[in-house]
């Protein structure tokens, strides 16, 4: 490594000779220029070859293969049987599939906005630069690093089980519904709380966005007599809306794919009463437990198309609420 760092510094020793060579190349444009282009192409594809191999073998190839499989009946051992759209019609008629859609939509629709609200609130708190700001920023971010781990899901399950801290606290307020983990009406909120706990990742993005807003805008608003709330609504929110859009897109796509935490919190059973049967959990069960790989592929493509649709809707909606600086004039 030390040898490599010394590299650029050694260069300036011999620029003369090199400059002469380069100038000669540039002068004879035609043929050597084309040869240079060919050499660039060769170099480009050589550098890109690992990525290209990955694209064919592990990304684009499998995506297309899974599209094909979604029209087949396949159990990993016998060869795939073409069954047309049967997987899709089976899927729509499957009550557990519908349940998994319901659970996932519930998780996305409740968890994502709450997480972003928490992130925005914390970012606003930290945006006034005070002593300790950097410390709090780092500390608030930390849960985002471990939130996806099995360890944290185990802790979550314990905290929200019968007689544990959450149950006891709510009983103080006269709410006697037991631990959230064992109750099909509340178990999803264990996952919601877990995703909210990880608000640090969108928070640091919000913070970066808040620091981009020019101070003069706030000063001008203050001169015009705008109070703190008015300044927030008329300056902060519009100026921050591109960042809100970015975070919303990222978090939405991400939360459609929740898996490990649902598996661990439900002890691998997706229950009680399938109340934690997230979409990817059902996909896993169909594909790798029941070996219905065609069906699971149909589920995967439905997920891909749904996420694509949600992304498209978000992009379409941004015209109405996302303010891009300098786009009005």
């Amino acid at each position: 490594m030390s040898d490599a760092t010394a590299g650029p510094r050694k260069r300036p020793g011999s620029p003369r000779k090199g400059a002469g060579k380069g100038a000669g190349k540039g002068a004879g444009k035609g043929v050597s220029g084309r040869r240079l282009g060919r050499r660039e192409n060769l170099a480009g594809y050589l550098f890109l070859s690992p990525w290209l191999a990955g694209l064919v073998l592990l990304t684009a190839g499998p995506a297309l293969a899974s599209l094909y499989l979604s029209f087949t009946d396949y159990n990993l051992f016998d060869s795939p049987q073409w069954i047309g759209l049967d997987n899709f019609s089976d899927m729509f008629a499957d009550p557990r599939w519908r349940k998994s859609v319901e659970v996932t939509l519930q998780y996305v629709a409740i968890g994502t906005p709450l997480k972003l609200l928490a992130a925005l609130g914390a970012a606003l708190l930290l945006s006034s630069r005070r002593r300790g700001q950097a410390f709090y920023r780092a500390a608030f971010y930390a849960p985002s690093l471990v939130g996806a781990s099995v360890s944290i899901a185990i802790v979550w399950r314990a905290i929200f089980s019968d007689d544990a801290i959450v149950d006891r606290t709510q009983r103080l307020f006269g709410v006697d519904i037991g631990g959230w983990v064992g109750n099909p009406d509340t178990s999803i909120y264990v996952l919601v709380a877990l995703t909210m706990w990880q608000f640090g990742a969108p928070m640091v993005i919000f913070l970066a966005g808040l620091h981009q807003i020019p101070r003069e805008l706030y000063e001008a608003a203050e001169v015009d007599g705008a109070g703190p709330w008015r300044r927030f609504v008329s300056v902060t929110l519009p100026m921050l809306s591109p960042v809100v859009f970015f975070n919303l897109l990222l978090e939405t796509i991400h939360s459609f794919q929740v898996f490990a935490s649902a598996l661990v919190v439900s002890n691998g059973r997706w229950g009680p009463a399938d109340s934690l049967l997230v979409y990817t959990g059902y996909l896993y069960e169909q594909g790798f437990v029941n070996l219905r790989m065609g069906y699971a592929s149909a589920m995967a493509w439905t997920l891909l198309l749904s996420v694509g649709l949600v992304t498209a809707v978000l992009f379409w909606s941004q015209k109405k609420w996302v303010h891009y600086e300098g786009s009005e004039r």
């Binding site: 760092t5 480009g44 890109l48 690093l145 781990s149 099995v150 314990a158 801290i165 706990w197 990742a201």
Partner: protein
């Protein structure tokens, strides 16, 4: 005036501390519970036990189902470090091509690369599994590592491309005039200058690989090969969890490397997350 400012400052710190307390509660809970006897873990509200015991850790040292905990750790470490080496090398090669070489089809391929960012992982797992199964790689680390050496995590390619675009081109051009080809410019000039982006990619790769659960769950079926994340799952698989304390103690031990990484590299992590939307 100064009094209202003092009041505001105190209110701010109280708010921040309250939030911090809520966030830290689960972490303190694991630490405290790992020092309690089995039957007191769930019911007891005391965060830290009055007389802490080390029994849970002692049982852990004896191993789970006959496998030593250090085996899981070594496996996790092999997977995480193997991933880091692969990602840093392959993602920086691809990023160099996109940022520094003018070749035909570059823009189209760049768009494809961004497109793969949006592809849900679950669309790929079934065909990938079939492929690795037919190739006889089940119960090996090949399926878990191959993608890292083929720059499949487009996030990191993108992150490094962005960083390379911000580097001055003069050094490259001077080196070219000196007769350096792309391999030498990449290795001697661009890579050393990209160190911050490479470190960010390396740290995130380590943490993701360490936390990864679904990959090992799909591909590994021999407990001797399990990483820590799957070793933890072995506790859950039993119908009623018998050794609650052992599970909690191991949860904490499994978190330690990530927390340690965070303490050492928090500046890179927070900056990386702020600039590119990388998640933990």
């Amino acid at each position: 005036m100064t009094r209202t400012r003092a009041v505001r400052s105190i209110a701010w710190h109280l708010g921040a501390l309250a939030l911090l307390a809520v966030l830290l509660y689960p972490v303190v809970w694991v630490i405290g519970s790992s020092l309690k006897p089995n039957e007191e873990i769930v019911g007891s509200l005391q965060l830290l036990p009055p007389d802490p015991i080390l029994d849970n850790y002692r049982r852990l040292a004896d191993g789970i189902a006959g496998i030593s905990v250090s085996t899981f750790f070594v496996n996790s470490l092999v997977l995480a470090l193997g991933s880091v080496a692969g990602v840093v090398l392959s993602a920086s090669l691809a990023a160099y091509a996109f940022a520094r070489i003018r070749f035909t089809g570059r823009n189209a391929l760049f768009t494809v690369m961004i497109g793969t960012l949006l592809l849900p992982y679950h669309v790929l797992i079934i065909p990938q599994y079939i492929m690795f199964q037919k190739a006889g790689f089940i119960n090996t680390y090949v399926p878990l590592l191959l993608g890292k050496y083929l720059a499949v995590d487009a996030f990191f390619v993108f992150l490094i491309v962005q960083f390379m675009r911000g580097l001055p081109r003069e050094l490259d051009e001077a080196a070219r005039l000196d007769g350096c080809g792309h391999p030498r410019i990449y290795w001697n000039i661009t890579l050393p200058l990209c160190r911050p982006a490479l470190i960010t990619s390396a740290i995130f790769t380590f943490i993701w690989a360490w936390n990864d659960f679904m990959g090992p769950l799909l591909y590994l079926n021999e407990p001797e090969k399990y990483p820590v994340s799957l070793g933890l799952k072995m506790f859950i698989d039993q119908d009623s969890i018998q050794d609650y304390g052992g599970m909690i103690a191991m949860s904490l031990v499994a978190l330690l490397p990530v927390l340690l990484f965070f303490l050492v590299f928090q500046r890179y992590l927070v900056e990386g997350a702020a600039t590119s939307g990388l998640k933990g």
